[in-house]
Symmetry: C2
Subunit: 118 residues, 2 copies
Amino acid sequence: MTAVLHICMTCRAGQPVPEGEVCPGARLFTAIRSADIPDGVAVRPVECLSACDHGCGIALSKPGSWSYVYGRMTEADVPEILRGAALYAATPDGLVPWRDRPVIFRKQSLARLPPLES
Amino acid sequence: MTAVLHICMTCRAGQPVPEGEVCPGARLFTAIRSADIPDGVAVRPVECLSACDHGCGIALSKPGSWSYVYGRMTEADVPEILRGAALYAATPDGLVPWRDRPVIFRKQSLARLPPLES
């Protein structure tokens, strides 16, 4: 089942962005789009995940599954973000075993949400 | 469309809970269940919203809509939580106009998530 990896495009990561510079969220999006996206993962830009105090924010969601929001992501985290997204996509319910999760997902979770009831 | 108000039952709100005492999340859940729940809102307990550093955590979700996670909620906030949940339930997409949102929702948002694609 395809998982969606949402990247907050407008994230300033709590910092002022000088005029003419690209904000950290847009830079993270570009870095992810330039990487090899795992099978079963679709990357989508989003305008604001309302996690501004803990940006850059990203989220993972797919039908029938728990959704997750992670914060304080940087371009250096792209390989681990994509590894975690692939693991998430491979689950039936969004619940990746704790020991398998990337450390950035274990330590930088902002919130998770139960699946929508059908 | 029925909105689900998720209440983190296991939330310690960042504090130790002395043995024999009820944790803040369970107290918040009891307070909400004892109140008048607005039409179109279903209250559901959940074990951990992974927002432990900013508890008590609650979330609002419904099909085809943006989902929201809020933090630092207390029993004193129950009337405004329910007012905000009713406004959310009445929207087609989860987007309550900013000026109408309870102040606790404006100031204590932890994250939001786009609707699942169908």
